[in-house]
């Protein structure tokens, strides 16, 4: 790990001011940043510890029925907040499918949004990587790329964004509240992360020094609570990143779908909102045919970036599964194996 100056600001304006120095980085829990610093992948010259900033650890109900989640709220505290989990069950399920209980006890909302890709070449400082060292090339192209992107990638970078939390947030129209030297602004979560294009080193719309202060979900997002699920395929049962994941939420009107929300994870460098798939479901009867049509629409633009063509059909099937589970209804409690495609729909445990 490189040497750095350690700063612990007492207020948000102080934090923003301290971050204007070149090479400065915010430290939340550090579960991603310290890992990257140990590997020499991130080398900040100044760490601004957000841990003592007041007022950023609250989960507040809003007058419109929505919720405002402070940037320092721990992933576990949000997932286990009874009112939040009842109103936004797919978000709770996604959180509980991520990382491990220990990591979720530490990891914050802001840090989850800004966690970096898990591309192995990004982590390996001996490899060429345009994201870590702009202009150096991309060793993932032609390398080990089974798990890389199938949507929105470019010649310059084929990595994916690893967050589970962000996937239902994108589906449910979350917004990110930001504070910087120039004041406050807010950005839809869907527009917060950037696709690689020719500048994969620029990962979000944050300007240097800008701080995430909160994430907001609108009141309408809670109208999907009865039919909202997250499904995440992993290479082992738990404690693994998504190969492909999907959040699906339905608002039913009698026998028909009034409105559908779908987003995918593990397929692109940002959580991927599938609006064409949502449109394909509006007014349809829930069922296998409609769900398959939606899945086709969601992946219509997908193309392999390497040895990962299988992810396209896998993603379609995960979309169908998430929609099927959502239509069946949100369970009263997050299942024992959150978001698992192997979780029993009823009865005994299928493994171990």
């Amino acid at each position: 790990m490189n040497r750095f100056d350690y700063v612990r600001p007492a207020t948000v304006p102080e934090a923003v001011a301290a971050a204007s120095a070149p090479g400065a980085a915010f430290l939340a829990a550090g579960t991603n940043l310290l890992d990257l610093m140990k590997g020499g992948v991130a080398r900040p010259s100044r760490l601004i510890d957000l841990g003592r900033l007041p007022g950023l650890d609250e989960i507040e109900s809003l007058p419109d029925g929505g919720v405002r989640i402070g940037a320092l709220v721990r992933n576990a505290d949000l997932a286990h907040h009874p009112e939040f989990a009842r109103r936004f069950p797919a978000v709770a399920e996604a959180l509980l499918s991520g990382a491990s209980p220990q990591l979720r006890n530490a990891a914050t909302v802001g840090g989850n949004l800004l966690q970096r890709t898990r591309c192995a070449y990004f982590y390996d400082t001996a490899s060429a990587c345009n994201k870590r060292a702009p202009g150096s090339g991309c060793d993932a192209r032609g390398g080990e790329n089974r798990l890389h992107a199938v949507l929105g990638w470019s010649e310059h970078c084929i990595a994916t964004h690893p967050s589970d939390f962000c996937v239902p947030l994108a589906a449910l129209d979350a917004a990110v509240e930001i504070e910087g030297a120039a004041g406050r602004r807010e950005v839809p979560l869907e527009a917060f992360h950037r696709l690689p294009g020719d500048a994969p080193e620029r990962e979000s719309v944050l300007a240097p020094g800008e701080l995430i202060t909160a994430v907001r979900l609108p009141g309408e997002a809670a109208e999907f609570a009865a039919h909202a699920r997250y499904v995440k395929l992993r290479e082992r049962t738990s404690y693994a990143f998504a190969v492909v994941s999907a959040a699906a939420a339905l608002r039913l009107d009698g026998e028909r779908i009034a409105e559908a929300r779908i987003a995918l994870g593990g397929v692109a460098l940002k959580p991927w909102r599938a609006r064409a798939a949502e449109a394909a479901l509006a007014g349809a009867r829930p069922g296998a045919d409609a769900f398959r049509r939606a899945a086709e629409a969601a992946l219509a633009d997908a193309k392999p970036s390497g040895d990962n063509g299988f992810k396209i059909e896998l993603a379609r099937r995960i979309v169908v599964r998430a929609l099927t589970l959502a239509a069946a209804g949100t369970p009263g409690r997050v299942p024992a194996l959150p978001a698992s495609p192997f979780a029993p729909t009823s009865g005994a445990a299928p493994h171990a």
């Binding site: 750095f4 350690y6 310290l34 760490l47 510890d49 491990s100 220990q102 006890n105 024992a336």
Partner: protein, 165 residues
């Protein structure tokens, strides 16, 4: 730069002068305070061998900067037994063969203490397995670990009920 931090470690207050902010909580415990019960497996959040409780919550000490936790209350495996009497989770790991080589065991035990305090798993073995998934065991002692956690939880809940009565 010298940063002085004060931690309560296993009930005792310790003030430590840090010469370097890079020290993780794990390295502070092992290298500077001689509390080597907490193990370093991966040092990258991937194995759970370094699990300790910070203010009652289980976390990975390898991905926590010591300086960030100034003022915190830390519980490590060394602080779990009461005098000569093992904590119920420790006793259950022995009773149920919850280990072989023992390298992961302190992390498993601290994680189980955290899991039981969180109260989310109940008596469902699948929820216990999922709740313990942040602790890998290369020896594959998982079956015994799950039994030990369920058993210790029963003992602790009964003790809690007796105390309340």
């Amino acid at each position: 730069m010298s940063l002085s931090i004060t931690l309560t470690i296993n009930g005792a207050e310790r003030t430590v002068a840090l010469d370097d902010p890079r020290v993780t909580l794990l390295d502070l415990l092992r290298e500077r305070l001689d509390l080597t019960g907490t193990k370093k497996g991966c040092d990258r959040g991937q194995c759970g061998a370094c699990t300790v409780l910070i203010d009652g919550r289980r976390v990975n000490a390898c991905l926590a900067l010591a300086v960030s936790h100034d003022g915190a209350d830390i519980l490590t495996i060394e602080g779990l037994a009461r005098g000569g009497e093992l904590h119920p989770v420790q006793a259950a790991f022995i009773a149920h063969d919850g280990f072989q080589c023992g390298f992961c065991t302190l992390g498993q035990i601290m994680s189980a203490v955290g899991l039981i305090a969180e109260g989310q798993a109940g008596d469902d073995p699948e929820r216990v397995r999922e709740g313990m998934s942040g602790n890998l065991c290369r020896c594959g002692a998982y079956a015994g670990i799950t039994e030990a956690v369920l058993d210790a939880q029963r003992v602790l809940n009964e003790a809690g009920r007796e105390q309340a009565a």
